[in-house]
Amino acid sequence: MRSHATTLAAAALWGLGSLGAALAGPVEDTLTVTTDAGEITLVTTAPAPEHLRDVFDTIYSGWHFREDETRDLERDDFDNPGMVFVDRGRDMWNAEIGANGESCASCHGGPESMKGLRAVTPRVDPESGKLMLVEDYINECVTERMGREAWGMTSNEMKDMLALISLQSRGEIVNVAIDGPARPFWEKGRELYYTRFGQLEMSCANCHEDNWGNFIRADHLSQGQVNGFPTYRLKDAGMVTAQQRFVGCVRDTRAETFKAGSDEFKALELYVASRGNGLAVEGVSVRH
């Protein structure tokens, strides 16, 4: 809240209104998406989860911080450039790519069988005790059940499949577990979130907790939520996963980043996802 007051004051005092910087806070708007199966309204603002109450009253999807044109692209699956990748994911789902001709479909049936998964991952696998991203579940099938080489964490195959699987949970409320076996991972993620990395000595919190709503040059800082991921990023003209976004944000602090899929970034994804507990999975969102 403090940041909003500062921004408004800044705009008024220094005559920046004309630059558009006065549009400080999240845009008030509702995200209703036209899909093949009718319209669905997504929860893009929610009361902050219990563990964040001393920091935020309300949490917002990054969608609220983007320009009108970018927000509009997410209102209709026909306009959403991410849907192309979902379609590619569906082809791969049905393709008999396993060493013995298995496809994802031959074990799981339709992709609808994945409904709900995105909303509760990252999560600790009860059998192995490992923290699992959706990407890890995908690779487990690819290697152990289909006898193939693991897909690269940010390869096209991986991102297409992630897009397809995430879309099955569109509209479901993010609810990752942070207690029990998840706790140590969550705590590690939280520690990373507040660590000031790199030569610029910036933490995730410096930008997305202390300064959301403010402008860092032309970039309108959001709360850095991951409920929209994977996202179609207009700047990159392609899909970006949460893990990739973390790489980018840490690199921008003039730091040596962790790798996508590293233990560090997996823990961070759990923690960041938990800051969005209460927002809807957007399936494939659109950002700039």
Binding site: G198, D210, F215, V250, R254
Partner: protein, 158 residues
Amino acid sequence: MMRGLALAAGLGTASALAAWAGEVAPKDVVFEGGAIAASLTGTPGNPEEGARIMTTNALGNCVACHAIAAMPDVPFQGTIAPPLDGVASRYSEAELRGLVANAKMTFEGTFMPAFYKTEGFVRPGAGYTGKAPEGELAPILTAQQIEDVVAYLMTLKD
């Protein structure tokens, strides 16, 4: 990086080497409170060059966070930090030098990066490559660039 380049370019010319030798290295900077009394180079700063550094992404990029009404042509000035107009009426040259070199000596824990510091970072990288640095880390701005920025800031009087 930048320092390496400067060194390489200067090799062989005696005067460049002398200028280099006259610089105060980041490790040797003496702060009094948050201020640095003496010039880091002995060469007066160039305010025009300072303005360029402050608005160039890969250099100071001060406008990412600070608005400066005296630079009306620079679009998308940040709203993170206090505006810099009139800053030379609020601070002395020594205080401004200290603020640009390492604002954390003035404002503990501030979000503002230290532009003339080479140690004490968590996982510093080689610029914006995301990779580990090879060899010694260079400060974000050179000593002379700090002086140039300070020279520009000194023009921002109420």
